[in-house]
């Protein structure tokens, strides 16, 4: 505890420095008129969770909920979880932005809201085109072959039949599923978790996205596949727009993103160049011991 209270002064001086960086950024955008792709304007996100009534009376709480509807959320056992608080940022075309923060700090929630899949309580999120969450796995079916899943996933993401046909070979090659034999014609339930994750990433990354949101996708797969994925993300950035990456792996953030947002307890703590933010973050999470390791790998 004493150690932590010591750290407060360390992070607080960062704040002014951070704001200078921010103004510098907007200054840049004025000069070359960088094109914004995602604008988050003091965004709040609140979850309402049903059935948190404790102990006895949870059935009565349920009845209460139905009877009263809008009146008293709290009395009816609905709990409000304020997951993201007053977050504002502007993402520009060609940027790769890392999102870091400890578990439950609201990273995935923010990403879902940017994708338009979660409503905001207050504030606004403006986007260029339709941001897509790299989450094609929900459309895939384990009982079908990898081949049919490539088609299904591609169509689910909004590609046309011709586009999927055209890119099919590329997707299979990229995933490396067929490197150890003809696995693409086997049902996906027979795949190892790594193989399945690779196929999922390959399908999702095959589409050109205006704004691509990736949630911990790079943590899966072997090192060779991770390198390939990072390359693909760089490509996507060049061809299209903006990439957001949520990860607990500071190395993949370092390797792919030049800008990083740090969320803590739903609030945006830092927004700046990856190295600076990661330095603060690593000091905060206290993995000083691990610090030399990432440098070696990177």
């Amino acid at each position: 505890m004493a150690e932590q209270s010591e750290r407060i002064p360390q992070t607080t001086p960062q704040q002014p420095q951070q704001t200078t960086h921010r103004t510098q950024q907007t200054g840049q955008s004025m000069q070359s008129e960088r094109i914004p792709t995602v604008v988050a304007d003091s965004v709040d996100i609140v979850y309402r969770v049903n059935g948190t009534g404790t102990g006895r009376g949870s059935a009565t709480a349920a009845l209460n909920r139905i009877m009263r509807r809008k009146q008293a959320d709290k009395a009816a056992g609905v709990r409000r979880v304020h997951a993201v608080k007053k977050v504002s940022f502007v993402a520009y075309k060609g940027e790769a932005i890392g999102l870091i923060g400890t578990n439950g700090s609201g990273k995935s929630t923010l990403l879902k809201a940017v994708a338009g899949l979660l409503p905001v309580e207050s504030g606004h999120i403006y986007t260029h085109g339709q941001p897509s969450l790299l989450g094609v796995n929900a459309a895939l079916m384990n009982d079908l072959t990898g081949e049919r899943n490539v088609y299904l996933g591609g169509l689910a993401m909004g590609m046309s039949r011709e586009q999927v046909k055209e890119r099919y070979q590329g997707i299979v090659d990229f995933s490396g599923i067929n490197e150890k034999g003809d696995f693409i014609t086997l049902p996906m339930r027979t795949y190892s978790s790594g193989m399945a994750a690779r196929l999922r990433f390959s399908i999702a990354a095959a589409k050109d996205h205006d704004v691509l949101l990736i949630d911990e996708a790079l943590a899966t797969g072997d090192r060779r596949f991770q390198v390939r994925s990072e390359e693909r993300i760089r490509e996507l950035r060049e061809t299209a727009g903006t990439v957001f990456l949520v990860s607990h792996n500071n190395n993949s953030i370092r390797d792919t993103c030049e800008r990083t947002l740090w969320l803590e307890r739903g609030e945006l703590r830092l927004d700046g160049p990856t190295e600076e933010v990661l330095k603060e973050y690593e000091a905060f999470t206290g993995d000083k011991a691990k610090k030399p390791a990432p440098k070696k790998a990177a």
Binding site: R22, T37, V38, V39, K86, K112, L117, I125, D143, E264
Partner: protein
């Protein structure tokens, strides 16, 4: 570890700035509901996904079974066999209906199409939240896709039905072509009701628990196992009951199919104005259900 740090005040930018910036570059609000024509256009653009998803669901169903896709035809045949055994052999409920077995089996298959469309429709959103929360597509794609899956299932059943009809000596005739318009109308009706149920089920998942009881009641009044025409001939029924029985959409679609397929089921056994009623129900449910579903488009999968 416990992070009891005081989080510094969040970075605030003047709201007008960001709003103006977004407006200047023509950014749109994320997750807003598209207009109805735009929605229809998006849905049409996803038509290949809708059919591929339906077929995938259908094939995934029996992928672990040794006989595989043979079950697509075996299941309806076995169903028909059970109904034949109980109603034809054990109970002998012919009640003066000629070709009772074809009559019964047609009724069961056509009813099952409506019943299961509504059942899967109720869970179309609430049972696929993972998909809804991960990918962007017009949500109507889900209930429609599930109804297409049921239609595909019915087509397998129809193949079995043809075998049964021929075995019971029902001749092939030109009226069999009427199956096509009847099925199109029934599908439109089913999809519309499925979309209405999908919206209700998304808001209150508990409805899925109620549906089996409602559907079973509906089945018993729809003349699946008995002839409505025989019942309404006896004059002691109040007029309103007769009208309700005859305009019941499920009964209308079942009787149309029987009329199309079974030679001994004559036109005069059909309820009056049967085709206009069939078209009316399809339009009412199809268009109404679609608009009703679209109205809540931005709320699905949230909260």
């Amino acid at each position: 570890m416990s992070q009891v740090l005081d989080t510094p005040p969040p970075i605030q930018a003047p709201a007008d700035d960001l709003k103006a910036l977004a407006a200047r570059h023509g950014l749109s609000v994320s997750g807003a509901r598209p207009s109805l024509p735009e929605y229809i256009r998006q849905l049409w653009a996803r038509r290949h996904f809708i059919t591929a998803f339906a077929t995938a669901k259908l094939t995934a169903q029996y992928s672990e079974a040794k006989l595989g896709q043979v079950w697509q035809v075996m299941t309806p045949l076995l169903n028909a066999a059970v109904y034949y055994f109980i109603f034809g052999v054990l109970l002998g409920t012919k009640r003066g209906v000629p070709d009772y077995v074809p009559f019964l089996v047609t009724g069961v298959f056509v009813w099952t199409f409506t019943q299961s469309s509504i059942q899967v429709g109720t869970r179309a959103i609430s049972g696929n939240l993972g998909l809804v929360r991960a990918l962007h597509f017009p949500r109507a794609a889900l209930p429609i896709s599930f109804c297409i899956q049921q239609l595909q299932q019915l087509l397998f059943s129809m193949a079995a039905l043809v075998v049964i009809l021929l075995c019971f000596g029902v001749p092939v005739s030109a009226s069999w072509l009427l199956v096509i318009p009847a099925l199109i109308l029934q599908f439109t009706f089913n999809a519309g009701v499925a979309m209405i149920m999908a919206r209700w089920g998304a808001k209150t998942p508990d409805i899925a628990q109620l549906m089996p009881f409602i559907l079973r009641t509906w089945m018993y009044v729809s003349g699946v196992m008995w002839s409505i025409e025989k019942l309404t001939k006896n004059d002691h029924l109040p007029h309103i009951v007769t009208v309700l029985l005859q305009t019941n959409p499920a009964a209308v679609y079942i009787d149309l199919m029987r009329f199309a397929l079974i030679d001994s089921f004559h036109a005069k056994q059909l309820p009056p104005h049967v085709w206009p009623i069939a078209v009316g129900w399809a339009l009412l449910a199809g268009v109404g259900g679609f608009i009703y579903f679209w109205k809540a488009e931005e709320t699905y999968g949230r909260g």
